[in-house]
């Protein structure tokens, strides 16, 4: 497939679908069909993109055929390709789940246009190679998520929406201020050009402040300590389809931005930011898992675990060895699948058992053994039990930590893993194992079970055959830590630029 098309289709498909859904306002079945078909198309295109970058090529397209540093560019290396591919998987899974899950009030208020808009924002953020363009995609994603969160217009959603909105706007403003200072320091916003200019070392304080502000903004978006308050305040109020796609993708866009900027533009190693990020990673893991320990609502338990898992990814990056970054990449991919799946399972648990509160549930293992198995796969994977995907993810992080003798953080990572297992055990012991407690069994429908089973199958497949993804992550990390290919693709040397223009 044409490179320009391959890089833009992951954004164009959901964006077009969003517009079509608006055009089909009121025709719910048509909107559902558009969303499912476009998500399937997104998955296919994203897998083709993944194949194209899997062997190390860095694909670039420049909009409007402008010359190299001036054009807004989309670029895909292994990391971006993998992120887009996982987005495709999750987009389709949740689109199918939404067929049964989205209430009429949410559907007629615009769930489908917003859902597709969200996906286009996410893929745009993964693919762009321009700092300001990244901001724009963040905003596309954010405004869609604002809408999705309050679709049912219930009291708790409006309350949660206010907090989510206020803190995310603040994060956005920090991001924008960081962009302004970065532009002031370097005179460019192209990521590769920024990298070259900022690392030439002539910018001094302004460039440093920009790096700090951007990190603060991305940490806020990623839900890291101590900037995560918006996440547990809001995620559990959305409908399950909304919460699952949020949990899978939104914070991970923040993590992706941190990985991208702080390997390419401002390499973390040796800067003051590295020890700070190490401490933040540790505290994020701990606060998240303790926050989860006192909760009883399945969705709130899972929300706090998102925070705790973000800590692992940040730890992988902050250790900054090729192996550790590979671990972070592996962790992100594994986490998106598993976390979204757990929320999908939570939705079915509430339908079978009648409540999201595990204390009011019970006996689900007897009533629906199949669901019990489907819960155990992502839950044990999240806790890091072999042979599931989470085991390899945690093993790589901890291995990488031991390699650089970061004893304390490695210990924290191990302990947090145990506490994660405790939380999953709590859900299991209360909701699944106790005697049945007056359950109101409502219809579940294949639309809910198929995505859950599919995502669980992916988790098991990664777990049983981890080698390809490990090798891929190592190769992706190599590309990240030594970004010469990425920079060369975005900033072709003079001769190459002329040759390209002649084509």
């Amino acid at each position: 497939m044409n490179v320009d098309l391959l890089l833009t289709l992951p954004v164009l498909i959901p964006l077009t679908a969003s517009a079509l859904c608006v055009a089909a306002w009121g025709a719910m079945r048509l909107q559902v069909a558009i969303t499912v078909i476009s998500s399937a198309a997104l998955l296919v295109v994203s897998l083709i993109l993944l194949m194209a970058v899997a062997h190390g090529a860095v694909l670039v397209t420049r909009f409007g055929d402008w010359a190299a540093p001036f054009a807004i560019a989309f670029a895909a290396d292994r990391l971006a390709g993998a992120m887009v591919a996982v987005t495709g998987v999750l987009g389709l899974a949740v689109a199918i789940y939404a067929m049964a899950d989205v209430r009429r009030i949410a559907a007629i208020s615009g769930f489908y246009p917003l859902y597709n808009g969200l996906l286009s924002g996410v893929t745009g953020a993964f693919l762009t190679a321009d700092l300001f363009n990244l901001y724009v995609w963040f905003e596309v994603m954010l405004i869609a998520s604002f809408g999705l969160l309050v679709l049912n217009k219930t009291r708790d959603q409006l309350d949660a929406g206010m907090k989510y909105l206020a803190l995310n706007i603040l994060g956005t403003l920090l991001f924008l201020a960081g962009i302004a200072l970065a532009y002031n320091a370097a005179g460019t916003l192209n990521l590769a050009d920024l990298a070259v200019t900022l690392q030439s070392g002539e910018q001094g304080a302004v460039g440093d402040i920009a790096a700090w502000l951007l990190l603060l903004a991305f940490l806020m978006k990623a839900g890291a300590f101590p900037l995560f308050a918006w996440l547990p305040a809001s995620y559990h109020t959305g409908s399950i389809a909304v919460t699952a796609i949020f949990a899978g993708l939104l914070t991970k866009v923040g993590v992706y931005a941190i990985i991208r900027i702080y390997t390419l533009v401002v390499p973390l190693e040796g800067t003051l930011l590295q020890p700070i990020l190490l401490v933040v990673a540790g505290l994020t893991m701990v606060t998240g898992v303790f926050g989860a320990a006192v909760q009883w609502d399945v969705r709130r338990i899972l929300s706090f675990h998102i925070i705790s898992q973000i800590g692992y990814m940040l730890l992988g990056l902050a250790l900054y060895t090729p192996y550790a970054i590979a671990a972070a990449v592996f962790y992100v991919v594994h986490h998106i699948i598993v976390k979204a799946n757990l929320f999908l399972v939570a939705g079915v648990m509430a339908r079978e058992g009648g409540s999201y509160d595990v204390r009011e549930n019970g006996g689900l293992a007897l009533m629906t053994p199949f669901l019990a198995v489907l819960f155990l796969v992502p839950a044990l994977s999240l806790g890091g039990i072999p042979p599931l995907s989470g085991f390899w993810a945690k093993l790589m992080i901890i291995d990488a930590g031991l390699e650089v003798e970061a004893w304390i953080l490695t210990g924290v990572a191990l302990a947090v893993g145990l506490l994660t297992l405790f939380s999953m055990g709590k859900i299991w012991a209360y909701a699944f194992w106790r005697a049945p407690a007056g359950a109101v069994r409502r219809t579940v429908g294949w639309q809910r079970m198929v995505p859950i089973a599919g995502l669980a199958a992916v988790t098991v497949a990664i777990g049983l055959n981890a080698e390809p993804l490990v090798a891929f992550s190592l190769a992706a990390a190599e590309q990240l830590i030594e970004p010469t290919d990425y920079i060369a693709a975005l900033l072709p040397p003079e001769g190459a630029a002329v040759a390209e223009a002649d084509q």
Partner: protein, 121 residues
């Protein structure tokens, strides 16, 4: 000039932060928009200040005048203003709906999503 602008932006951010810390939702939203104005101004002058020559190419010439102003931050700030305006509009509507539904504008009293008795806080 830089000093005056820097102090001005600083004052705006300070005022905005003060308002954002208020418990009244509307004041909080307005505070955020004041900070947004400061950040937009920062973006606007990110290309450097001093020259006021328009970045236009005179007829017959191939390039703009060498001392012309940098047009890129103007394009960036326009985008940021539009996005900020959309966010502000949404925030105001949401604040209004939250007020109707929750019968309060006090953020401390907004505990619908995180009830006090639950979660032990």
């Amino acid at each position: 000039m830089e000093l005056v602008l820097a102090l001005g932006f600083g004052a705006l951010v300070a005022a905005g932060t003060y308002m954002t810390l208020a418990r009244h939702t509307l004041r909080m939203v307005l505070g955020l928009s004041v900070i947004a104005i400061a950040v937009n101004m920062l973006l606007f002058v990110a290309g450097g200040i001093g020259t006021t020559t328009p970045a236009l190419i005179a007829s017959g010439a191939d390039v703009a005048a060498p001392d012309s102003a940098n047009p890129l931050p103007q394009a960036l700030v326009l985008t940021a203003i539009v996005i900020g305006f959309a966010l502000l509009a949404f925030a105001l509507v949401l604040a209004y709906r939250a007020h109707l539904a929750l019968r309060t504008v006090d953020t401390d009293a907004m505990r619908e999503a995180e009830p006090v008795e639950e979660g032990g806080r």
